[in-house]
Amino acid sequence: MDNRQVFNNILTLLLVLSGFFILPRAYAVDDLATIQQSGNENAAYVNQITTDSRFSEYEGASAVDITQIGDMNYAEIHDLGKNHVDIKQQGIQQEFTALVEGRGNELLVNQEGGGNSGDMAVVGDNNAISLSQSGNADHSDIQVEGINNNVTVVQSGNSLGFSLELNGNNRYVTVTQQGI
């Protein structure tokens, strides 16, 4: 066993201990966060920490639902657990950032308008990511780390941009870009 392997084993052990013993936390389940904003330059932030399914088999069923109608709105989500996240943005120059950690999450993002952008990072297994952008000059970046994750991206419009970084196995990716 070389030094690198020993270091990795110790790191793994520390992570397990921090999850069960060192930092015991009571994670919530069955929570629901709903934000509806109509107007311009609005911002929505959601930090939902439910069942930490990185270390536990028990999985909660919390949900986040954000709807923004207007221009230049911003949504930011940090979601930990087995949750359902639904982001709807209608307008121009909308932006969202989502960090999803856990297993079995559903992340649905729908942007309608031009110049919209989004950054998504998913860490965990068995997650489903669906991104739909309609409009010109839309852009999205997605990073996925885990196994058995599904990524579906549909973009319709001109001057579209999309980047995807995948780390792991058994992923299913569908990307559709359609000009108008």
Binding site: R25, A26, Y27, A28, V29, D30, D31, L32, A33, T34, I35, Q36, Q37, S38, G39, N40, E41, N42, A43, A44, Y45, V46, N47, Q48, I49, T50, S62, V64, G70
Partner: protein
Amino acid sequence: MKQHILTIAILSVLYSTASLAGNGNDADVAQQGNNNATDVSQIGGNNRATVVQAGSLTTSSSSSQGGYNDGWWGYNYNNGSSSSTAYGDGNQNAATINQAGNNNNANATQLGNNNTVNVQQTGNNNNASSASAGAVDQYSAQTASNSSSWSSSWYGWYGYGSNSYQNTSADIVATQSGNNNDVSLTQNGDGNSSNAGQNGNNNRVAVAQNGNNNNASSASAGAVNHYSTLAVNNNSSSNSNYGWWYWYGNSYSSYNNQQTSTNGVTTQSGDNNDVSLTQNGNGNSSNSNQNGNNNRVTVAQNGNGNSASSSQQGPQTSASFASSSYSSGSYWDWYSYSSWSSYNANQTSSQQTQAGNNNQTMLSQNGDFNGASNQQVGNNNNTDITQNGDRNASNAAQIGDNNLAMISQAGSSNNANSYQQGGNNTTGITQNGSDNNANVHAGYAYNGVSGSAGVSNDNDLTVAQNGFNNSADVGAVGNNNSASVTQNGNGNVASVQQQ
């Protein structure tokens, strides 16, 4: 030349009359029997009249007239179905009326300054009244047993006699023990004070003060009592109503069958007014109305089924309310209701604390720079705060289960905070305007209240904001919590934290 008349009669149906003119006169009348009458008239100063009547259906009348009466005047003693009347015109007069028995009437009228009236009645269905005009007078009445009443009217004119525009200061003390008693006090002038004490049931006190720097206080022990205080101009008054489980003359059956119902009403118009109400017992209610500047209302209720309301009009007012319930709740459910409102006022503050279950607070403020704070510890409590204006602040803290907090603000630069610890709680904040801020937290530690944080499940937290540059912060610790933020406008920020 001093004149002295002494009349002793041991006869029935005797009429005695004496008329004296001069200074330093003494008149002593003693009558024993029924249906007697005495009339004493003194003109001059430093006179003294004493009427003693032992019997029933007697009448005595004493009058004193003079430019300056210095001395002791008017002493009437009656026994049953009798009437005593004292009339004085001058300064430093003293009238004392003692009546023992039932159905007696006592009346004292004084014109002048530095006069005193003392009425003592023992028996039932007695009545005492006094009227005066002058300054620095003192009046007291002490009645016992049932169905007695004491009324006093005091008109503080601008100095009767040689003085003018002097301050008027009259002290009125009324003490009653028994049931079905009435106290009615009217004071016109400045620097007056009145105190009404009642021990018994179904008693009533009514105080009216017109002038500045007046003070009214009352204290009672019993049930089904009513108190009302009316003060106009710059006044201060305080009422302390102690609704003990104390039934005068009745048997004490059981704890839960006892209920004390005291109704206290205070109305003040003017500046720098104070209202202080304390009610101990069940089924009590109080209402405080103030119209003016820099007024204060303080209400404390201990018991169940109590209600308190306050209405303030004017700037820089404050109202505080504290209630606690201690019943087991098996028969008499815990309930306390408070309603506070201020109209078109700035820089007002209102603070309520309620301990117990099934409490309800309704608070409304109209104006700017107002503050409202409500703290409830218990279950099934309800808080409703409404603020119309700018730069207002609302704080609602609830510890317990099944609580409801509703805050509505219309205006700009308002702040609303709600803290809840427990389960199945509901918070709803509505803000219409711009630059408003709403904070809703369930399960977090809150410095202002006791209780452990971290256990708040099944809560429903809702924020609705209409306007620009509003912010909403919603946080919950626990399971099955629901957070909803709805914002209509530009530049709004919504933040939700759930863990």
